[in-house]
């Protein structure tokens, strides 16, 4: 048993014949904020989605707080865990998506309350109180009873973050959360993430916002063709890239 929050060992994932993750190793401690960068198709989003079993993976292991996620080995045979157990493990992480994915038929508060009531089994009143607290934290006081269709993209994404964070996850996963936003709305979302990071929330961010990755994370992982191409602290990574590929990638990205 290690005291790492997250431990990924030799992660392999393919879609049919196409191998998208070719042996990824990564560990992360409590309070780490890690940005995952890399060109599209390098496997960064797939890696994130394996951590909460939105993607199945064929080889390697992922553990959170020492518990193996998604699969178990019984009598030498690797088996997918039971659906109920996987659902329980998914609640260890929270995820925010590129497309927000708010439930459009529920108000902002209801979006946050759903998991609290159905998964955490809180009463309606407790759930509502928590929902209001978190909506307040992401700057949406007074928007609790608005439907997603009545909110801007940036506001929707902040509701989505509140929905994930209210579940009190061990680790937050952010999957290109600003990519679908109009440029003027990007900052309000980044500010929320930054505040969460400063509160000590452990997070993994797949992002194209190089400036943000540089400022907010204590470690950066550069994914390249299904493997970790390079990793280190943001200062070294962005100013003194060791590999040709990373230098190339940074040159074409928005960092500069």
């Amino acid at each position: 048993m290690s005291n790492n929050l997250l431990e990924i060992r030799d992660l392999h994932k393919s879609y049919g014949d196409v191998e998208v993750l070719k042996g990824v190793d990564c560990t992360m401690s409590q309070g780490d904020v890690i940005s995952i960068i890399g060109s599209s198709g390098s496997g960064k989003t797939t890696m994130l989605r394996c951590i909460n079993m939105l993607e199945e993976f064929q080889g390697g292991s992922i553990s959170i707080d020492g518990q193996e996620i998604g699969y178990e080995t019984v009598g030498g045979e690797r088996r997918r865990k039971k659906e109920k157990e996987i659902a329980r493990q998914r609640a260890l992480t929270g995820m925010a998506f590129q497309q927000f994915n708010l439930f459009p038929h529920m108000t902002a508060a209801r979006n946050v309350m759903l998991g609290l009531m159905k998964v955490k089994r809180l009463s309606k009143e407790e759930a509502r109180a928590l929902a209001e607290k978190w909506l307040d934290r992401v700057g949406l006081r007074g928007r609790a009873d608005h439907f997603p269709g009545q909110l801007s993209g940036g506001q929707q994404q902040r509701v989505a973050i509140a929905r994930a964070i209210a579940m009190n996850p061990r680790l937050m996963l952010f999957d290109e959360v600003t990519s679908a936003l109009d440029p003027e709305l990007v900052n309000e979302v980044l500010q929320v993430i930054k505040a969460l990071a400063q509160d000590g929330m452990s997070m993994l961010l797949v992002t194209h916002e190089m400036r943000f990755a540089y400022e907010v994370s204590n470690r950066v992982i550069f994914m390249n063709e299904g493997r970790i191409g390079e990793e280190g602290n943001p200062r070294e990574m962005f100013h003194k890239p060791k590999s040709e590929r990373l230098a190339e990638f940074l040159k074409t990205s928005s960092f500069g």
Binding site: R90, F97, N101, H105, G115, G149, Q150
Partner: protein
């Protein structure tokens, strides 16, 4: 009635006989509505379940559901009604007239509603299911709290016409002597010989009821529409 006593292309209209039996027609209409309500309620459950089966990637789940829908949708409902009432008792499956018809119309609605619901399910973005999974909901919780309510909103307009169509199909119960509206109208027709008057009144009752159903469905649609 303005037409009473008037000659209409050589036929003298006289509604008096029909009015005398009007309460019979109303009783028939009430039974028609009850048949439709019972059958659609059961059919909706069958249809919802079948719709989820139809979109399953598992062939063992998808194929039986597909077969059920194909068979029902390609058989005239009158044939199904007659088959259930006359043929099934031969193999020991005996039901009363009303039960037999409700059973048939429920199976029939199930197949049609399954197709309506399936289309609605396909229009829901997959990201919502993933968002549900990510907060730790089970597949069943996602279906009941997220997918089904959204699907229902999506399909309300086509659901409305399917329900009206199914209500009209209750007239086929007359074929096995269930005393619904069409059956009662035929009885009055035979007893009074007021052919045109009887069928005009019966038709008006159908049109009137269908308009009310349509208005009700529109009200539900408005009520459930999401603010934006």
């Amino acid at each position: 009635m303005v037409w009473n006593g008037e000659r209409f292309m050589g036929y003298t209209l006289n509604f008096a006989a029909v009015w005398r039996s009007f309460d019979l027609l109303l009783e028939g209409l009430a039974l028609s509505l009850a048949l439709a309500f019972a059958a659609i309620a059961i059919g909706a459950v069958i249809g919802l379940f079948t719709a989820f089966c139809l979109i399953s990637k598992n062939g063992f789940i998808q194929r039986p559901a597909g077969t059920y829908v194909t068979i029902i949708r390609n058989t005239p409902i009158l044939v199904l009604v007659l088959f259930t009432y006359f043929a099934l008792p031969q193999i020991g499956f005996r039901l009363g007239k009303i039960e037999s018809f409700v059973f048939t119309l429920a199976l029939y609605s199930g197949a049609y509603l399954a197709e309506v619901f399936r289309a609605g399910l396909l229009s829901i973005p997959g990201g919502l299911r993933e968002a549900g999974l990510a907060i730790g909901l089970t597949e069943m919780q996602i279906r009941t709290s997220i997918i089904a309510p959204l699907m229902l909103r999506n399909v309300l307009p086509s659901l409305s016409s399917t329900i009206i169509s199914l209500f009209k199909d209750t007239s086929l119960a007359a074929a096995i002597a269930v005393p619904e509206l069409t059956f009662e109208a035929r009885k009055i027709n035979v007893e009074t010989f007021r052919v045109i008057e009887t069928w005009i009144v019966a038709s008006c009752l159908y049109v009137f009821t269908c308009s009310i159903l349509a208005a009700l469905m529109r009200a539900v649609e408005r009520r459930l529409s999401l603010p934006r």
